[in-house]
Symmetry: C2
Subunit: 338 residues, 2 copies
DNA sequence: TTCATCCCCCAAAACGTTTCGGATATGATT
DNA sequence: AATCATATCCGAAACGTTTTGGGGGATGAA
């Protein structure tokens, strides 16, 4: 590996001049600059980023910290698609991306600050963290720039990007109401996610606007898990046979709900309408295919990165961004025939 | 950020001693070692990895270079699951992971060597590269340690990990033959993937063992794409109505095949048996669910990382690993009734 | 001639580590 | 008393950059 010294020697100038020539400073003669560039190319010189970072105290690196990077994530692809967005944006802006993953085990050993400082990243995007995670508090106190995904919290150094969950949920439920459904259940996610509360809010607001009373026993906790959703749905339908429609806070849970309904012999969608949230791949392939609220996970990652790099480069501006959802009609919803 | 100098000052020793104390050298008194550790913790000292790497010429970092890290990858999750495996193994072994993605555009600008040297990674895992990619040649010439995924090529510094594609394909086709099918089509992947050839070999070998002549016109190119597979399947079935079964070189293509068959009014699986390859999530949810050959993508990533770190640490040993497949029976295959 | 301006260039310090080659003190051995 | 081995410690160099604070020469103006 050729160093800057090699180039300097060969060019008969000082390392200072090489550095300044290559970095586009104006106090170097154009002729010598060209010569230096020539030689650099000849020697296949490329600056040692470690050395550069060490002196400049900038690494041009961001980290994607994901809590629970597990194979189960394949089902909703949330993390993968966020990752794609982050990667694309970071690439465009010349930032390197390091992937950091934690789990409750690792968190015992290292604090957030340690974890992040060690990796020498300038900023962090946080994905998949729950609201009761001890890291979250640390993040908000720390002065390491950070963007949270789907956790609407801010501080001087942290911002967030999320989807308009309330509005999305509202349009889902409104869709069901428009189809004539009066008794609509909800399979919500666990309470360690902000989005659960938001989606519940949307559910309630939609009901309220149509003058339908909210019934707490119509809402159950599916914990964002397919199996849990299946058993909870079964129980719910058993207990409340009057339900003709379900709003699920995630497509994956909707898959569980579909299975539960099928097992109970309910005809879909004639005897039970189901709408999900997320628009995961599966929702287009299931039988019946799933009417759902699409959120753009790629964009979530992309915007998070944009926000983060803006912060890093000192561009003052909003540190939050809320994305819109899109309603997607498929087969799993139909008019209420009761 | 506290530096080693701060610790040294506070402890009243030299930086050398602090360094050696913290790194477990024996030529430092246990008492002072304890004192230094104490102070280090007190000052929240953690060594600057940039500085360390600079002098040690080791970064303890590996790169996952993926060609075409795109949102479309959501459908088969190949990259995501490999990533999970790489991440887990790297984490266990104390390596950092940086994600590098390229596309044909970026490859114009930077050679493989540049791309990799700049990032200061010690080794690379290469995923998603096609056989006609110019990078591949460069990889084999380069002396940067590298593990290829699903490309069985070796050199002094590069090894590979892959699945036993031929055997997997063979068992898929054998399954169909055992069900009494005599005319079996194949929707293969494009020829820029090694696995395509291997799976074709397995297909042929299975036929041969049962004494059935190979018919080249039964094999079409679905390019690993769902849509392409759909149109190719439609054409194939039209041209060869005698076909009662299909072997698809990927589950995603099988999805296309299923759709094509349905559109033609074929009853599945009674009038057409289909077996896929991969065992992607979708295959369990489609109607009919897909009989397939499972390959462990997570393990692929995990083993790749193990191989790579072995190389990096000078452990001489095999630089290749071939994983086995598992046959999974679902609804899409049944006995031949003709 | 003298002085101020540019234009180019450079030596040296700094970043935070690790490591090499001693240095010192202590105690044991001869 | 002299020598030697051992246990601890340390100064300084090295890694490859960027940046700071000039320095010298040419040019133009006074």
């Amino acid at each position: 590996m050729a160093t800057i010294r090699d180039v300097a020697k060969r060019a008969g100038v000082s390392v200072t001049t090489v550095s300044r020539a290559l970095n586009g400073y104006s106090d170097v003669n154009e002729k010598t600059r060209e010569r230096i560039k020539e030689i650099a190319k000849e020697l296949k010189y490329s600056p040692n980023l470690l050395a550069r970072s060490l002196v400049m105290k900038k690494t041009k690196t961001i980290g994607l910290l994901v809590s629970g990077l597990k194979i189960e994530g394949s089902k909703d692809n949330f993390t993968y698609e966020v990752l794609c967005g982050v990667n694309d944006c970071a690439g465009q802006l010349g930032y390197e991306l390091v992937l950091i993953s934690t789990d409750s085990q690792k968190q015992q050993e290292k604090t957030y600050n340690q974890l992040v400082q060690e990796r020498k990243v300038e900023g962090i995007i946080l994905q998949g963290i729950k609201t009761d995670d001890p890291y979250l508090e640390e993040v908000l106190k720390s002065d390491i720039p950070c963007i949270l995904i789907d956790i609407p919290m801010e501080s001087d150094s942290v911002g967030y990007v999320t989807t308009d969950n309330k509005d999305g949920a509202k349009s889902a439920v409104t869709h069901l109401l428009d189809l004539g459904h009066k008794h609509i259940g909800m399979i919500n996610g666990h309470s360690q996610a902000f989005v659960s509360q938001e989606r519940l809010d949307g559910y309630q607001e939609a009901l309220q606007e149509k003058g339908i009373a909210f019934n707490g026993s119509y809402v159950v906790d599916g914990a964002f898990l397919e199996e849990k959703a299946e058993t909870e749905t079964a129980k719910l339908l058993q207990k409340h046979p009057e339900l003709t429609a379900l709003f699920c806070a995630s497509d994956l849970m909707a898959m569980g709900a579909i299975r539960a309904a099928k097992k109970m012999g309910r005809k879909l969608p004639e005897e039970l309408s189901i709408v999900g949230f997320d628009n995961i791949i599966l929702s287009a392939y299931s039988t019946p295919s799933l009417t759902t609220i699409a959120q753009d996970r790629y964009q979530l990652g992309f915007e998070a990165t944009k926000l983060l790099t803006d912060m890093l480069e000192g561009n003052k501006g909003s540190k939050r961004k809320v994305l819109n959802t899109t309603f997607i009609k498929r087969e799993s919803t139909s008019e209420n025939h009761n």
